[in-house]
């Protein structure tokens, strides 16, 4: 199966191409050089390196975040439009799961982190079962301290924010906290490889309805929700 993997949810944007379990090409660029400007140019570059055209693909995999809200919209919109136009199956994969996948031989509970700005992180806990990380519990958005409060057993923290905040995490948890390498960011090919079992199981996403995993509402949305809840609270229950 030939799959193109796209991820523009983090600061490093990547495009990868796989043929069965072989990585044909993997290309990364800095998102500050513009996700939108570079994405099609680099998809074309990766396909040419692999000697393939879009029509040769059997499917597309795309990172759906959490991460940069603006960045992830570029990759998701491009992937869903390509999948619709070409009639190829599409598989959306979360950034956190992709990080967990990088350490799927570990026996500890995995906790991948993605930077959420303003000293907060996106996170989730994963346990590896039959070679695949399975998420346990809800996604988390908040401070590092709030996250470490939830830890009850040895955890392997993954991702750049884990490395940056390792002192805070270690002082809260002590030796049960371990850390992955600082450079374990998954490339586009990793996203494509992760999609293989899903395509095999028919677990594809509808390209028309696929949207990013934001794990957070905009400030305006939060304000509105509070205002509307207050307005509802003022009325008789059930009205």
């Amino acid at each position: 199966m030939r799959v193109l993997g796209i991820d523009t949810a983090s600061r490093t944007n990547t495009i990868g191409l796989i043929d069965a379990d072989r990585v044909v090409a993997d290309f990364a660029w800095d998102a500050r050089d513009s996700s939108l400007q570079q994405i099609i140019v680099n998809i074309d570059l990766v396909l040419k390196r692999g000697g393939l055209s879009l029509e040769d693909l059997d499917g597309l995999a795309v990172g759906i975040g959490p991460g940069s809200w603006t960045g992830v919209r570029v990759g998701v919109t491009v992937a869903k439009t390509l999948a619709c136009t070409l009639g190829k199956p599409l598989c959306g994969i979360s950034s956190l799961e992709a990080l967990a996948h990088q350490s799927k031989t570990a026996s500890a509970l995995l906790c991948p982190l993605v930077d959420a700005g303003r000293e907060t992180v996106y996170a989730a806990f994963y346990r590896v079962r039959e070679g695949a990380p399975i998420r346990e519990g809800e996604y988390y958005v908040g401070s590092i301290a709030g996250l470490t409060d939830r830890v009850r057993e040895p955890v392997l923290f993954l991702g750049r924010p884990a490395y940056l905040h390792r002192a805070v995490i270690t002082s809260a948890l002590g030796p049960p906290a371990r850390f992955g390498s600082p450079s374990d960011a998954p490339g586009g090919a990793a996203f494509a490889l992760m999609s293989l079992p899903r395509f095999a199981a028919g677990q594809v996403d509808d390209p028309l309805s696929l949207v990013p995993l934001y794990l957070g509402e905009s400030l305006a949305q939060a304000l509105l929700r509070r205002r509307e809840a207050e307005a509802r609270g003022g009325r008789a229950p059930g009205s």
């Binding site: 939108l36 099609i40 919209r73 919109t77 992937a79 390509l82 949207v211 990013p212 934001y214 949305q221």
Partner: protein, 340 residues
Amino acid sequence: MLILGIETSCDETAAALVDDGNVLSNVIASQIDLHARFGGIVPEVASRKHVEAIGYVIRETFDSAGERPAAVDAVAVTCRYGLIGSLIVGVSAAKAMAYALKVPLIGIHHIEGHIFANILSHPGLPLPHVCLTVSGGHTMLIHVEEPGRYQVLGGTLDDAAGEAFDKIAKFLGLSFPGGPAIERLALAGDGAAISLPRPLGRSRTADFSFSGLKTAVVNMCQGRDRGSLPLADIAAGFQEAVVDVLVSKTLQAARRLGVTAVSVTGGVSINARLREVFSEACPRHGLQVFFPRPDLCTDNAAMVAAAGAVRLRQGEESGLDLNAVPNAPLESIKCPAKRC
């Protein structure tokens, strides 16, 4: 030539198919009800909604035209002027579409799109002419020498006219968007009952200013009980002042340039009082006046496809590295083939 147009510069997710000046389909998914809950357009909310809607809107565009993507000859997309987060979604989809179909991609300035709303609606629209494009996001006077050749004569120095309507509506406790709300209330009022200033009305420039008008309304109401305010007269007086400035500035520019026609476009060009005053005043000055067909007044993708067709014919094409630029100036086609 069949052109797919895509437009997501603000709060409408739009796609259209235009074939040699014939609009085959013109699909617009409006977010207005969503933003009305916030009392204005929220950029992050708009961007999210665009991603949700874009696939469905493009599919509906093909279905309702009875066309297939493989039949498309080029993809035109609004890539300049608008909310950056919104523009990005349309440009992402358009780039993917053009790349997958192996057809040319043409990036269009949003204002050029509005100019084409009238050219598309009226094939006999004289050239050159003066175009007033006026909405919640912009207010601009443009000398349209020919399709692809423009001279911006002036624009607003502060608020767009539609934005002034929104702000006054909010101040008077009316709903969002403010244009239709003020227009409705004004029907019951006397536009001459209250005297409001005509900012820059006497100046010879083609620039507009609406924030002073807003301040005048606010000052007039200051310290008075809302129940005692003649709301309908205020709405009518305000609308009259905006319309007066828009019409007089447009006529002034048309006379100065010696054109025989003016075109009015953008969301505010739906306003019935604006149309009425233009339609009365233009013949008196020997001018023809044109308004777009109703579905091409507000943001839409048919106008973008029409602009794209002309640019493509003039030999313009964008690269796959096309980017979105929120506040780019309106530019003419640099080197129209026939002039080289």
